[in-house]
Amino acid sequence: MLVLRRRAGECVLIGDEIEIEVLAVTHQGAKIGIRAPKSTIVLRKELKITQEQNAQAAQGPAEADFRYTLEKLRPPAQERPPLPDKPTES
């Protein structure tokens, strides 16, 4: 990975058409601006990861495997959230 140190107001060029400008840097993170052709898709990486993970989640079990899947996903007793305290008898 190429690593560069840039300050607010400085830019990086990627190829002929993509420009990334560091707008501001605070303790919360860096604010960046991106200039790119409309045909270039710009996405936060975690959004892309979520899209892909959702696509996998959406497949789900086939109908024939549904009951089997339910059985497999039944949490073992020790994994269930603790029950509320038993009311003490007075």
Binding site: R44, E46, L47, I49, T50, Q51, E52, Q53, N54, A55, Q56, A57, A58, Q59, G60, P61, E63, D65, F66, Y68, T69, L70, E71, K72, L73, R74, P75, P76, E79, R80, P81, P82
Partner: protein, 152 residues
């Protein structure tokens, strides 16, 4: 009462007030803007997030605390705002919000839970969205404990 075509349960009656509106859809499914939460005694605590408009779109999900009982919620302020929840703090689970983690299965039926991007439902306004965390504290493929095959 309207009815909903479901992926696993045939056609179910569906009260208007059991519908959750997802104004932005979900990443990868931006066009799906309404889901119903289906809970059955047989599958509990597993629940189902069924699209109202696409019958074959039904996510399997657990309440997030079933997968990680110490899960630290970190919904970004703009997501809280979109959900009509208070932006200065995290919502209270149960009374204000229901938080689900979507389950994925691989080819061998090994399940994982997306703890990086939980689905947050405002139980009062019945709005929902998938709230992607800004930090990297949780995995999008967190292993889910499963029943082992009986080998006897």
């Amino acid at each position: 009462m309207r009815s909903v075509e479901t992926k696993y349960f045939g056609t179910l009656p569906c009260a208007e007030e059991s519908v959750f509106e997802f104004p932005g859809g979900m990443p990868g499914f931006e066009g799906e803007k309404a889901f119903v939460l289906i809970e059955t005694a047989e599958s509990a605590p597993l629940v189902f997030l069924q699209s109202l408009t696409r019958a074959n779109l039904c996510f399997l999900a657990f309440p997030i605390q079933v997968v990680d009982r110490d899960y630290a919620l970190a919904v970004a302020p703009e997501d809280l705002e979109a959900l009509d929840l208070e932006t200065g703090r995290q919502p209270i689970l149960g009374t204000e919000a229901v938080v689900l983690t979507l389950i994925s299965l691989d080819d061998g039926f090994v399940a994982s839970a997306n703890l990086m991007a939980p689905v947050v439902l405002n139980v009062k306004t019945r709005r929902g969205l998938q709230a992607i965390r800004r930090d990297r504290l949780y995995s999008h493929q967190h292993p889910v404990p499963q029943q082992q095959e009986q080998t006897c």
